[in-house]
């Protein structure tokens, strides 16, 4: 601090100042309790921002190395915990790639349905929270109402609202419920109308627009250099979407567009997420039409990896042995390494997994999409004001579980 009895020369009003250092977070409400930013400001202008992540580090990757492959699924739920199903599917996808398993047609459709539902909840949460942190509490409640519709549906399907642990290597824990399509028919229009309304609440709000437009700008070239993927990358105008670029499951049979932004600012990120929700709803409508109503969910020809049916476990010795071997020793995934990647809520969610041929992963490495966005946060925010940290950070959609692992 400057001494108060500073000898002020009347002719020189330009006071010598030092930049002020402020610690935002981890208990700052906009920092989600999982991050700290050391900001250096000149007045209200940010001159330097240092992002400190890792407050939610739980050693997820290391924990995977002590259970069986199947026991990793509950951990993946806790990666991106606003769209756990996408992480479930992403991990299953990587392991199936390594074990060379071709999952059943019905399972592919089912994973797309649950995954796209999860993507909508992901984007709803991001946009809602971003608006709330700018003081707009009503849109938040409005969008969360839509999320409730989806969570109810996911609960009916998987038994859990958030931490589903529903995917399995080679299939899913349970086949779809008979009411799935009927419920989708109810949920899709309900969610669509709520998203419409939420946009009406925000897009004519001068405060919202002023704080979003032109803030946190990132150019397409730089975004690619930083390793951005997902909605944030698309907001800069790069149309990279794993579902289109490297189609998996049945995304090549679905008709959907990849929305892109123009300027790569907060506003574009908001709009891209909004549009992606509409595209997801479009996909879900197609799934209702195309998804087969019967057929197996789990692959039948890989008994050394896929659990038997419960009725066989309880009544036949073969089923009991199969269950015992898979639960006690774990499915033996062939030795090797693979990088499996899918489009997660925040972008390319990658699992780099190494197997030594035993029932336990040798190494599970995760490519969390939001780390790459977050690491460039100082670059995005430089020259803006302290208050701009809040919407910009919100538009990044940093999810602590995924980022810190």
């Amino acid at each position: 601090m400057e001494p108060t009895d500073y000898d002020i020369d009347e002719s020189e009003l330009d006071l010598p100042t030092e930049p002020m250092r402020l610690a935002m977070g981890p208990s700052h409400p906009a920092m989600h309790g999982t991050i700290r930013m050391m900001v250096e400001c000149d007045g209200e202008m940010l001159t330097k921002v240092d992002v400190e992540m890792g407050f939610l580090h739980r050693g997820f990757e290391k924990m995977c190395e002590r259970g069986t492959w199947a026991q990793c699924f509950p951990y993946t739920d806790r990666l991106n915990y606003v769209s756990p199903m996408l992480c479930n599917v992403g991990f299953a996808h990587a392991v199936e790639k390594l074990a060379d398993i071709e999952i059943t047609e019905r399972c592919k459709w089912y994973r797309v349905v649950l995954g796209e539902l999860a993507r909508i909840t992901d984007h709803l949460t991001c946009n809602a929270a971003m608006a709330m942190e700018l003081g707009a509490f009503t849109p938040f409640l409005w969008m969360v109402r839509a999320r409730e519709h989806i969570w109810d549906l996911l609960e009916e399907e998987t038994g859990a609202r958030l931490t589903h642990s529903f995917a399995r290597i080679g299939g899913m824990a349970k086949p779809p419920t008979p009411l799935l399509k009927a419920r989708l028919g109810e949920v899709i229009p309900a969610v669509r109308s709520i998203i419409d309304e939420s946009m009406k609440l925000l897009l004519k709000n001068r405060i919202f627009l002023d704080r979003m437009q032109g803030v946190g700008v990132m150019s397409a070239a730089e975004a690619v250099q930083w390793g951005w993927t997902g909605p944030t990358l698309r907001s800069t105008g790069v149309a990279y979407d794993v579902r289109k670029a490297h189609p998996y499951l049945v995304y090549d049979q679905l008709d959907f567009d990849v929305p892109v932004g123009e300027r790569g600012d907060n506003y574009d990120r908001y709009l891209v997420r909004n549009e992606e929700m509409y595209q997801s709803l479009r996909m879900l409508e197609q799934c209702v039409q195309k998804m087969p109503d019967d057929g197996p969910i789990n692959v039948a020809d890989r008994p050394e990896i896929v659990l038997p049916e419960k009725k066989d476990v309880y009544t036949t010795i073969e089923g009991t042995i199969q269950h015992f071997k898979l639960v006690m020793e774990g499915a033996k995934i062939p030795a090797g390494e693979v990088y499996g990647f899918t489009e997660g809520g925040n972008g390319e969610l990658g699992f780099y997994i190494v197997s030594d041929g035993t029932g336990t992963p040798y190494r599970v490495r995760i490519r969390p999409p939001c780390v790459f966005v977050l690491q460039s946060f100082p670059r995005m925010i430089r020259g803006h004001m302290i208050a701009d940290v809040v919407p910009t950070f919100g538009s990044v959609n940093m999810i602590g579980g995924e980022c810190d692992r």
Binding site: P303, Y314, T320, F324
Partner: protein, 392 residues
């Protein structure tokens, strides 16, 4: 040394070796139930069937009808006659196909399926689960679910064979390893096989029960969960146990053994034989196997001299005990007959308290005698001691 080829790999053998023994010596496992390196050959489980072609000789072929998917009909075909690897003797230049033959794979799968046809759904309550050959070979060789949906044959369960062994006829695959062990190794043919086909089971000779010094070995030769010891039954689940190499502390033979301990509690629920052809071959006696009990039983857990706590000791003994760790003071942590587990601080010797006390007394006595005889060995004396002596 003459060689045979198994799946293209050259395997040396000694004259008189069976294929399975030559392979076993090289660490190649040919799936088997009834063959045991220390017992005679029965060749009754048929799990070790392999494709054999002898030099110069014609390979035995069988005429079979095989389903042709294209013609949608059974067509006559030739198939090699498979031979049990435990019985076929090695001949120079012999070529064996084990894992590389589709016929062998099918045979193993079918044998395994047959063995499980009447098997009860017992894994959750079976002590063998986790180290059971039926489980291992199902995963390695069968991998199909049940096709026979009739009620399985029911047989006696939990038959008391004697003071040490319980028999479950439903789990038994009648490989007769136990029968052969009692007859050939223990020298007491107390076990017999009765009936035939899926009704066969192991029974006691009329009027007898399983007794003697080598009864518990039948549990260890049993490849499935049919024979269990009353000592280990329901005591632990094997996947929670870790094993450690040890020598049986029971007698001077020094049988090589595995010590299975529970890392969570430090308890030792069982001791089992470890192969060493120079010492104990594959066997251990009942006393030796049961010696694991001594790790827990009759342990000195408190000081032996009742009523004498450190506070009531004489000044000299208090000084003697001062500054020593508690475990040392109780004389624990000294002798460790069961070495490996001791490093983890889980096992303690049997009667160390008394031992230490006696040794301490001897040592003190010797020191007193030595001091009296040789003052030079005393070293520098404390100040008060010198003063005391000067005045005297």
């Amino acid at each position: 040394m003459p060689v045979i080829k198994i799946d293209g790999r050259e395997i040396p053998f000694e004259k008189g070796d069976s294929i399975i023994r030559a392979a076993d010596r090289q660490g190649i496992e040919i799936p088997h139930y009834c063959w045991h390196p220390g017992l005679s050959v029965a060749a009754n489980c048929r799990m070790c069937l392999v494709e054999v072609s002898r030099p110069g000789g014609r390979q035995l072929m069988l005429d079979v009808l095989a389903w042709d998917e294209e013609k949608k009909a059974y067509v006559p075909q030739k198939k090699p006659k498979l031979e049990p690897a435990c019985q076929a003797e090695c001949v120079e230049g012999m070529e064996v196909k084990s894992d590389s033959s589709p016929h062998v794979a099918l045979a193993r799968k079918s044998v395994q399926e047959l063995l499980l046809v009447n098997h009860p759904v017992d894994c959750p309550i079976c002590d063998q689960a986790g180290e059971c050959k039926l489980q291992d070979y199902w995963l390695e060789n069968q991998k199909t679910s049940k096709r026979m949906l009739d009620e399985p044959v029911h047989k006696p369960k939990a038959v008391i064979f004697g003071d040490t062994i319980v028999y479950d006829a439903e789990r038994c695959i009648v490989c007769t390893r136990c029968v052969r062990f009692m007859e050939e190794v223990a020298g007491d043919a107390v076990l017999e096989k009765r009936e035939r086909g899926n009704l066969s089971e192991i029974v006691l000779a009329a009027g007898r029960k399983l007794e003697g010094h080598y009864t518990m070995m039948v549990d260890h030769v049993c490849p499935v969960g049919a024979l269990t010891t009353r000592d280990f039954r329901f005591k632990a689940r094997v996947w929670f146990l870790r094993k450690s190499k040890t020598i049986c502390p029971g007698c001077a033979t020094g049988c090589n053994a595995w010590l299975d301990y529970d890392p969570r509690t430090g308890e030792v629920p069982r001791l089992r034989p470890r192969d060493n052809t120079d010492v104990n071959k594959y066997w251990m006696c009942d006393d030796g196997i049961l010696s694991h009990r001594r790790v827990q039983q009759d342990r000195v857990t408190a000081r032996a001299s009742a009523g004498r706590t450190p506070a009531s000791r004489s000044r000299r003994s208090r000084r003697r005990f001062r500054g020593r760790p508690a475990a040392r003071r109780q004389g624990q942590d000294r002798l460790h007959p069961l070495g490996a587990a001791r490093e983890r601080g889980q096992l303690r010797p049997r009667h160390p308290g008394e031992e230490a006390r006696r040794q301490g007394a001897l040592r003190r006595q010797a020191a007193r005698v030595g001091r009296r005889r040789d003052p030079a060995r005393q070293g520098p004396q404390p100040e008060h001691a010198r003063r005391h002596r000067g005045r005297g």
